[in-house]
């Protein structure tokens, strides 16, 4: 009697545990499907011919017909829009790291009056709907000849990316002990040499990750791009301004052209995503 009772209890616990385990795995699979299935469906449409895209009912299996993609690439303005997107994103990347990284280094290495004020300025940018900056800047840019140029748009995107660049580089530099730099100083390096030979190699991968992040911010931005460019549209601006007139297969191929680089970018920076945000919380 007692023996069976003793056997029973662990069994119940066991079933409860395996049921919990099953639920847990089911939840993981479900969320992965929730993320991946819509992307898969977009790719199915992209890899189907224009007739299939407007056809009904759909099978959900791509026919690997590249005529939609061909149509998209040869559509007037697309190639230029793609090139503009890349150009603006690269400029944003250079500007935001070039301006943000020195600030991140200063915040991590020095204590000085005004430090808190600067931090407030950076944090404040997050409490404002930044794409709206495009409205007044459109006026300023027309006056200075920056309207409808890649650099003008890159400047607005840099405002979006700078808070991240500062906070990410701050956390990167903070992760490197000051003692390493001090050791280099005692061995005869000056401040710049020590930075160049000791700190820079250690933070370079992280800086590259935050540069990719800046690239992604610019690549995806729609509102400011649509407001500030007329002739030199970026891909998102081009798509959003043609949404109501473009055929479905053009929209889907355009969507895919925006999604695929994003997938690669996130894969490239995945290791740093959490380090970035861990510090951005404070």
């Amino acid at each position: 009697m007692t023996a069976t009772v003793e056997n029973d209890t662990p069994k119940a616990v066991e079933t409860a545990r395996s049921a919990g385990r099953f639920l847990f795995i089911a939840a993981v699979v479900l969320i992965c499907a929730w993320v991946l299935v819509p992307i898969y469906l977009l790719m199915v449409n992209t890899l189907s011919s224009p007739q299939e895209v407007t056809g009904f009912p759909k099978t959900g299996i791509p026919s690997f017909d590249f005529s939609s993609i061909q149509f998209f690439i040869s559509f007037a303005g697309v190639a230029k829009a793609l090139w503009n997107s890349v150009l603006v994103a690269v400029l944003t990347m250079i500007l935001s790291i070039g301006i943000g990284a020195p600030a991140g280094y200063a915040l991590s290495r020095f204590d000085f009056p005004g430090k808190e004020a600067f931090r407030m300025l950076v944090v404040m940018t997050r409490a404002f709907p930044l794409p709206l900056l495009a409205l007044p800047l459109a006026v300023l840019f027309i006056r200075t000849g920056l309207d409808d140029t890649a650099i003008g748009l890159a400047i607005v995107h840099t405002v979006l990316a700078i808070p991240f660049a500062v906070l990410i580089t701050f956390s990167l530099f903070s992760g490197i002990p000051l003692e390493l730099e001090e050791a280099a100083w005692t061995l005869g390096c000056n401040r710049w040499q020590a930075f160049q030979k000791v700190v820079l190699p250690l933070v370079l991968p992280g800086i590259a990750a935050s540069a990719v992040f800046a690239f992604t911010i610019s690549w995806n931005e729609v509102f400011a791009a649509a407001v500030l460019t007329i002739e030199n549209r970026t891909l998102p601006a081009f798509l959003v301004q043609n949404l109501n007139v473009s055929p479905l297969h053009l929209k889907f191929a355009g969507g895919a052209a925006m999604v695929i680089p994003a997938l690669i970018f996130i894969f490239a920076v995945r290791k740093y995503l959490f380090a970035m945000w861990g510090i951005a919380n404070r």
Partner: protein
């Protein structure tokens, strides 16, 4: 160069840049919205407020944020808890979970358009299951609530990842000892979540909620992709006034409204989730 001047020199580019391209433009927006040829005027604000689309745009924008943000919070908390409990395949699953982080709202709108359009995958599925005999026009102007639902789905799909990433890194900062102590005193997993995780996560929750709510007020491309101008939102109206109607003063008045509700939301979350002084980890 004196060492004292070095930090200021390093901060100079960023400070100047932000003053010129962030602080100054926002002052400009305010000026554009309330000045006309003869100085101060409330005419632009009146034009905006008396236009029939203003109230609906404001209403839809706030309703969208009120529906989307809580769903995202619950989903992100579950996803973050799952991630922290994972033993095998953690990095692969984390990558999949955070994919939408890199997607733009326009791309998300187009992705969900593939599902909801008349010859799209939802209709194909319903037809295949025999639920409908004809494909339904989901995103027509008669079905404004379906458009709303599609926008909610697209927003939840796209922007939950950012909340999850912030919460995962916040959870990583909570010391393990707290959970061990909780377990010793017999707290169940649910109790540990309510009594330890949630209170300790307050700073992360705060920044995630502020970030997401503000972004929700700026919703634009998703709505345009899925519903055109059928479902008016504030950012879309700003765009319309700037472009189609060529009136940047009224567009700036709209921008001020978005700014005002953003600041209100930020202050609300700063107060509601205030971190007591000295209580940080």
């Amino acid at each position: 160069m004196t060492p004292k001047a070095l930090p200021y020199l390093l901060l100079l580019p960023a400070t100047v840049f932000l003053l010129v391209f962030f602080v100054y433009p926002f002052i400009q927006i305010a000026l554009l919205a309330v000045t006309g040829p003869e100085g101060f005027t409330l005419q632009h604000v009146q034009t905006m407020a008396s236009h029939w689309k203003f109230n609906t745009a404001l209403g839809w924008t706030i309703l969208l944020a009120a529906v989307v943000v809580p769903i995202q919070l619950v989903m992100a908390l579950s996803m973050a808890s799952i991630v922290t409990k994972l033993q095998t395949g953690r990095s692969a699953i984390l990558y999949i979970f955070s994919i939408p982080l890199g997607l733009s709202d326009l791309a998300a709108g187009i992705v969900w358009l593939a599902i909801f359009e008349q010859s799209g995958f939802l209709n194909s599925m319903l037809y295949g299951l025999g639920v409908v005999e004809q494909p339904i026009l989901f995103l027509g102007y008669q079905n404004i609530w379906v458009i709303f639902l599609a926008v909610v789905l697209a927003e939840v799909w796209r922007a939950t990842a950012i909340v999850m990433v912030i919460l995962v890194s916040g959870m990583g900062l909570i010391p393990k000892e707290y959970y061990e102590a909780g377990e010793v005193f017999g707290a169940s997993a649910w109790q540990r979540f309510i009594k330890i995780t949630l209170p300790m996560l307050r700073p992360s929750l705060q920044s995630a909620l502020i970030l997401r709510t503000l972004a929700a007020f700026e919703v634009f491309a998703v709505v345009t992709a899925l519903g055109g101008t059928t479902l008016p939102v504030l950012m879309g109206e700003t765009f319309q006034w700037q472009f189609t109607l060529q009136d940047r003063n009224v567009a700036s008045a709209y921008a001020l409204v978005i700014l005002a509700i953003s600041i209100a939301a930020t202050l609300f979350f700063l107060r509601a989730l205030r971190v007591p002084k000295g209580a940080t980890i």
